[in-house]
């Protein structure tokens, strides 16, 4: 079995996903043994930018220069895997997607300063620009999800990641549903994979794994409104990690029957 050639790259994000790969301490020797890591700037200096079997890309894309680099990686890689919620959905820097006003916000931060580096644009996930074969979300990614996927790829098998909401894992741990307490829990919108770590410590899910592929945004919105949360707060919290995965959906939220009644 020839070892797959791998590259690991980071764009706009905290580099926490690359760090998490390096934090797989007990498996690092196996990882470097089973794969040929051609490029991984955070881990080593001797990097070669050639053909790749798999490129792992962290972070959202927010400058022209990044975009060029991303396209180059895509051209060289047989498979491109987005790692971390920023690469998968845009991350918190993409929480204003579909709202417009990027220029104004940009000006608010940078004023009239002369920008000499690459031109910036509103941060978007990797698949807004290039084809992505697999998303491994997380903030940061989970070691066992990442290593599980890599192991499958090395064995030339399809990786499997949970697609259902984290509520399933939460129930497997037999936690009481935190929504019943009136807390703002984003669990029903959020992909499983973290092992329901926050609700297992009685902390509501903030949605950092990004959205599932089967969202009922309207139902979660109406439920949270009934619990007393304001519309803006709900939408903002949904978009914080949901980014491109929920940006369009929150615009389609329909008023409930009760609200329709009240507006008559």
């Amino acid at each position: 079995m020839s070892s797959p050639k791998i590259g690991v790259y980071g764009f706009t994000g905290c580099a926490g996903d690359q760090l998490m790969i390096l934090n797989c301490e007990n498996q690092l020797v196996d990882l470097f043994g089973a794969t040929e890591i051609r490029s991984f700037s955070m881990a080593k200096s001797d990097n070669h930018e050639g053909e790749l079997d798999v490129a792992f890309v962290e972070g959202s894309i927010s400058t022209e220069e990044q975009l060029e680099h991303l396209k180059d990686i895509r051209k060289r890689a047989k498979m491109l895997i987005a790692i971390g919620t920023c690469a998968c959905w845009g991350g918190p820097q993409a929480m204003k997607l579909e709202e417009g006003g990027f220029e104004k916000r940009y000006k608010g931060v940078y004023g009239n300063a002369k920008i000499t580096v690459s031109k910036a644009f509103e941060a978007q996930p990797v698949d807004a620009f290039v084809r992505v074969e697999l998303k491994i979300p997380g903030c940061p990614i989970d070691k066992s999800e990442f290593l599980g996927a890599v192991s499958k790829l090395v064995a030339k098998r399809h990786p499997y990641l949970y697609r259902f909401p984290v509520c399933a894992e939460c129930k497997w741990k037999e936690n009481p549903c935190i929504l019943w307490e009136g807390k703002f829990c984003a669990g029903p919108l959020t992909k499983a994979g973290c092992g329901a770590v926050c609700p297992s410590h009685n902390m509501p899910c903030v949605g950092c794994w990004g959205p599932t592929d089967d969202l009922n945004v309207g139902a979660e919105y109406n439920l949270l409104k009934e619990k007393g949360y304001g519309p803006d707060e709900i939408v903002q919290k949904m978009k914080k990690f949901g980014g491109a995965g929920v940006a369009k959906l929150v615009k389609e939220i329909k008023p409930t029957a009760k609200e329709k009644e009240a507006n008559k």
């Binding site: 196996d30 909401p165 399933a168 129930k171 009481p176 549903c177 029903p188 089967d214 139902a219």
Partner: protein, 340 residues
């Protein structure tokens, strides 16, 4: 066989039977009531109406490894399940386990379930119904079989039903605690108890005629209305004592031909559940998934096995954050209106 035991002797009895295996019972930590391994009766909460997850978790864990494999073959992971005594199961949950047995032990015997079932003794206990209990509507509020021992709390005494030879073996570990001396007062107490229990229910549950009402209302917009509220979070299926669907995945070791084949609880509420090769999805719409679950519980299972696949435990009522459960669905269909 029905025996009598003094209430204060229960602790000593459980202490003795622990020789046979791990003792498990309902424990409470704040809002969380769960079957956990315990050392003594004093750690159990026998007044709690229900645990979050039914005892199915011990017979069929949420995620477990079935076998290890490499390129030569596989080795089953059976054989390492400990003996367990599960104390404090309510009649509804024993009915639930009987339905699980039908699924996993009859036509296609599941070796993993069978092993855990074989090594688990079921010691039932009478319960105090709350406003979510609806076993009266599914005819599961009492239980006559399916347990090894069943303890009915009659204040000063327990009446102890012996439901299997293994249950009898437990009794024989401490025979001096049991008496066959059942008198007139005991019979009257038991009759009173049944009356009392039957009078405790307050849930607005009525499943009579549900197969027909489902047939009539299958395309009703009522179900669309409910589906609009459904979060597809799958909690209802995880907490249901009769939900038994699972998914199977392989985990491989990095750079190796070795790996494990794992099984975990799946849910028909999830979109990927009905996704097949080629990308077609038999129940892409949320409403179709709701219909599957509720017709399974209250219609199709009755057609096949003559009883509902709902045991009235009230867990879906206690769990669904948007109030979709067997009671609200049955009532909405019957009254053609989604309640508040």
């Amino acid at each position: 066989m029905i025996l009598k035991m003094k209430k204060e002797d229960l602790s000593a009895f459980l202490e003795t039977v622990k020789e046979w295996g791990e003792l498990w019972g309902p424990t409470r930590k704040g809002e969380r009531v769960a079957f956990e391994r315990v050392e003594a009766l004093s750690q159990m909460d026998l007044k709690a109406a229900r645990t979050i997850i039914p005892p199915k978790k011990l017979l069929y864990p949420p995620r477990f490894t079935m076998f290890d494999f490499d390129d030569e073959g596989y080795v089953e992971r059976t054989g390492d399940v400990p003996n367990r005594i599960l104390f404090g199961i309510h009649p509804c949950d024993i009915h639930g386990i009987q339905i699980m047995d039908t699924m996993f032990l009859e036509e296609y015997k599941d070796p993993y379930y069978a092993e855990r079932r074989e090594k688990t003794l079921l010691l039932g206990h009478s319960c105090i119904p709350d406003e979510k209990c609806m076993c009266f509507a599914t005819d599961t509020e009492f239980i006559a079989e399916g347990f090894d021992l069943f303890f009915t709390d009659l204040k000063m005494f327990y009446l102890v039903w012996v439901g299997s030879s293994r249950g009898h073996d437990l009794v024989r570990m401490k025979p001096e605690l049991f008496s066959r001396d059942i008198g007139k007062d005991d019979i009257l107490n038991y009759t009173e108890y049944r009356k009392w229990k039957t009078s405790q229910f307050s849930a607005n549950a009525d499943f009579t005629g549900m197969p027909d009402i489902f047939e009539l209302g299958y395309d009703s917009s009522i179900l669309d209305e409910l589906a609009e509220k459904c979060l597809s979070c799958g909690q209802c299926t995880m907490v249901c004592p009769t939900c038994n669907c699972f998914n199977v995945v392989d985990e491989v070791e990095l750079g190796s031909v070795e790996g494990t084949r794992d099984r975990f609880w799946d849910s028909c509420m999830f979109r990927e559940y009905s996704l097949v090769a080629g990308g077609h999805n038999f129940r892409d719409k949320r409403v179709d998934r709701l219909k599957l679950w509720y017709t399974h519980k209250l219609q199709a299972y009755i057609g096949e096995f003559g009883e509902p696949a709902c045991v009235g435990c009230g867990r879906c009522v206690a769990t669904c954050p948007v109030d979709i459960n067997v009671v609200t669905v049955a009532n909405a269909l019957r009254e053609q209106e989604v309640g508040k």
